[in-house]
Symmetry: C2
DNA sequence: CCTGGTCGAACAAGCGATTGGGCGCACCCG
DNA sequence: CGGGTGCGCCCAATCGCTTGTTCGACCAGG
């Protein structure tokens, strides 16, 4: 129990894992005010990263004072935790859906790529934070689950690539792990310049990338 | 390491050996000590980024107090400036060398890719900083030259890609600018997991990437 | 009255930066 | 040879500011 202070027994019901179900009679809302604040924070994280965003930034964006934030969250970390956890939950579910479809490896990889690109817009903040503040988060036990989830994701991709090689769909002279990393990095890093509503939407990007990834940039 | 250091004299200074020859009154400003400090700072920047690294971190790594750093540098920014400027100078020179060789577009792109991967090891700090703190640096007039250099680099790549398309070496249905960005980002972002001395060195990475980029992962 | 939400003020810790002084060494002049 | 001087390098202390966080008071509305 090193964890964060946790002192001053605020009956906060803990920010612990279990998704909030309707608790007791009043208010189905897990506080829509709170949700709104998370969205505001996410926008700032997406712009500048987690460490570079101050609680006063967030509060100002919401039109309140920094201290008031602590009525809704018990720390700045718990805000980003909520964002990251939601992201991983969603993407892993989507990934598993593709795997369960059981198409050929080429279709599987294409599916994974499309999903990943699809998260670019709704999960800008989480992706930005993971890129900018990964090493910082890794130094905190609280976020150890991130590495675990990332490992699981890597396994999905690598297995699909290997399956493709075994089926002679993908060339045998590429390194599955290395190839996965390159695909992953190429997709996530796009969060830096991708702006929704631009010339190309996320799926357009995905199509463009799939072309290049499967067949290369050479003419044939 | 607060140790009751005997304040007087130079108890530490371990690493450094060779108090070297005398260099008359007017040194070229390239003090050895200073260079050493820049390297230490670079290592920290490479680990955590620029903003996340404090001057006290740097000083501690060098076994001195933070104030002492200001005998060598006039600000934390000037340290990173030195690192970034050196990086751009080197890579742009190398890029121009490839262009001047005047090979076909395919050879040119391959050359650029190899150079970029080659900087991964010696310029980890600069690349990390550019990824983590780009927007922060951009907000300071002092670092406006970064955007300028980046534009020039982009032009080199895009021109080479376009030339390849005109010569029917690269497929016409890829977007040159988009393709450049993906190549660039994929290479630089590798700085996050690339560790010198690992299974693959930088040139091995480059070769693998060129294979995939030119011909894709499909079998043919 | 209770409860959710906020203010306003403060806190300790840490930040980049500045200052003045002191040490020890290489050098020069006598 | 020896005392003086300049300089590279560092310490110690401190400045003004920002950080995340705490906490009592207050104010609405059901």
């Amino acid at each position: 129990m090193t964890s964060t202070s946790t002192n001053s027994g605020r009956p906060k019901a803990a920010a612990e894992g279990a998704p909030r179900r309707r608790s007791r009679g009043s208010t189905a809302l897990a506080s829509e005010r709170r949700e709104h604040l998370v969205r505001l924070a996410a926008d700032l994280f997406a712009e500048k990263g987690f460490q570079a965003t101050t609680v006063r930034n967030i509060a100002e964006e919401a039109g309140i004072l920094s201290g008031s934030l602590y009525h809704h969250f018990d720390s700045k970390e718990s805000i980003v935790d909520e964002i990251l956890a939601g992201f991983f939950e969603e993407i892993m579910t989507a990934y598993r859906g593709v795997l369960d479809e059981g198409g050929d490896p080429r279709a599987t990889i294409a599916g994974l790529v499309r999903i990943a690109f699809g998260t670019l817009e709704p999960h800008r903040a989480a992706i930005t934070v993971m890129q900018n503040d990964w090493s910082y988060l890794q130094s905190m036990p609280r976020f150890a689950y991130l590495a675990k989830s990332e490992d699981e994701v890597e396994k999905m991709w690598v297995d699909a690539i290997r399956a493709g090689q075994d089926a002679d769909l993908f060339r045998a002279d590429i390194d599955p792990k290395l190839t996965y990393r390159m695909i992953r990095d190429t997709i996530w890093v796009a969060v830096r310049w991708f702006k929704p509503g631009g010339r190309l939407d996320a799926q357009g990007l995905a199509d463009h990338y799939l072309k290049v990834m499967f067949d290369g940039i050479n003419t044939h």
